[in-house]
């Protein structure tokens, strides 16, 4: 069997643009997901029953259904609901961000829960008012502890972002499949695409374990 990777050079520009689109989707979904996830985690730790259940249902639903279904739902149904046209780009961004928010809120919540009860004892023993306790003791520790999970969420979103190709967004996946169809050389092109994803996904995953090891040492006092 002959492999011919030389033709790939011809398409490097298109692939590059596809990759940028992918990264753009991921970047926006991560940032919006951080904000939305923080709001959701407040709801999930709230003592208000209504808020708690609303946030919990939301998070469980988005974690309990395929992202592909969510994407199609936003893409096909949301415009009907809202009665306005949504571009494919906007739909895909909304879908990824809603999902990102759900997994981000879980990271925040787990981080909050992992703080040892004795830290609260120490705050009382030092007579720290509630506000000081939250802002200077609990929140910074929660943020530190959430970092590894937040990073691994970025990896997840990076991988899930390939789904936007299914609704016609010209991301790396979409561009790759298109070229593969046009030149009838699926092995070379699909392998190349996989390697590009890997070249970004692998260092990110490594970074997660590195950061995790470092942080564990710090927060374990």
């Amino acid at each position: 069997m002959d492999f011919d990777f030389s033709f790939l050079a011809e398409y490097s520009g298109v692939l590059w643009r596809g990759l940028l689109t992918t990264l753009q989707f991921v970047g926006i979904a991560v940032v919006l997901g951080l904000v939305w996830g923080f709001v959701l985690s407040l709801g999930r730790t709230s003592s208000n029953k209504g808020l708690y259940w609303l946030a919990t249902l939301y998070v469980e639903f988005f974690r309990g259904t395929p992202v592909l279904v969510q994407l199609f739902w936003i893409f096909f149904c949301l415009p009907l609901f809202l009665g306005v046209e949504l571009s494919g780009f906007i739909s895909a961004v909304i879908a990824l961000s809603l999902y990102s928010g759900a997994i981000t809120s879980e990271s925040f919540r787990a981080a909050l829960k992992s703080i040892d009860a004795s830290q609260f004892d120490a705050c009382i023993a030092l007579g720290l008012p509630q506000g000081v306790q939250t802002v200077f003791v609990i929140l910074p520790q929660a943020m530190l502890r959430a970092i590894p999970n937040l990073l691994s969420n970025v990896v997840s979103l990076f991988k899930e972002s390939a789904l936007v190709s299914a609704v016609g967004m010209a991301d790396l996946m979409y561009v790759g499949q298109n070229i593969a169809n046009n030149v009838a050389r699926p092995i070379e092109i699909l392998t190349a695409i996989a390697l590009i994803y890997f070249a970004i996904g692998f260092p990110l995953t490594r970074a997660v374990s590195l950061v995790e090891g470092r942080l564990l040492k710090v927060v374990k006092a």
Binding site: G64, P66, F72, F76, A162, L163, A166, M173, L190, G201
Partner: protein
Amino acid sequence: MNYEFDWFYVKKGFPQLIEGLWLTLELTLWANVIGLVLGFLVAIGMLSKIKAIVWPLTAYIEFFRCTPALIQLVWFFFCIPILFNVWWSAEFMGILALGLNLAAFNAEAYRAAIQAIPHAHTDASTALGLNVFQRIIHVILPQALILSLPVLITNGIGIFQQSALVALISVEDLMYQGRYISTQTFRPIETLTTVALIYFAVSFPVSQAVTLIERRTKRLLAN
């Protein structure tokens, strides 16, 4: 919002959706069989001191963990037939891709669990005169299974959700049937919402069970 709901087509197409669900469950089951068995074998292989074994296994795990499941699936679908000159069904390709993906994640779960087994147990098994295989089967496997059970189930239900991807290579699973009905009837809201609810109805109880099991296993192994 002034959308008028019409559930007629969902009711009419419901048997079709259930048929899709069965296929989805079938894919999930087989992918899990591959994932649980192959994952353990890979994890055991990773314990080896021989680089020629560890390196390819590491490459396999990292590759499947660090690339989108969609590219894996599409790659299998288009490239396996050309490379090996075999013509397997799309369902089988789906099972293969999902199963190999799951095995990579499960191997990591097993590995973490094996590392968490106290080293004293290895010494104890040596002292009891167990050989390597007896040790793997009677000491390591049961504990690794119990310790990693929550993660294995979480991964397993994750593959149930990921299996929706096979709709993109024309496997007629739940996702595919939902898409089909919604485009045929122009009723995406009713159909896709129903599809989402079916997925949720399966995965939610399982994820709740994981929380329970996690609490149990912690107590069981707290020695």
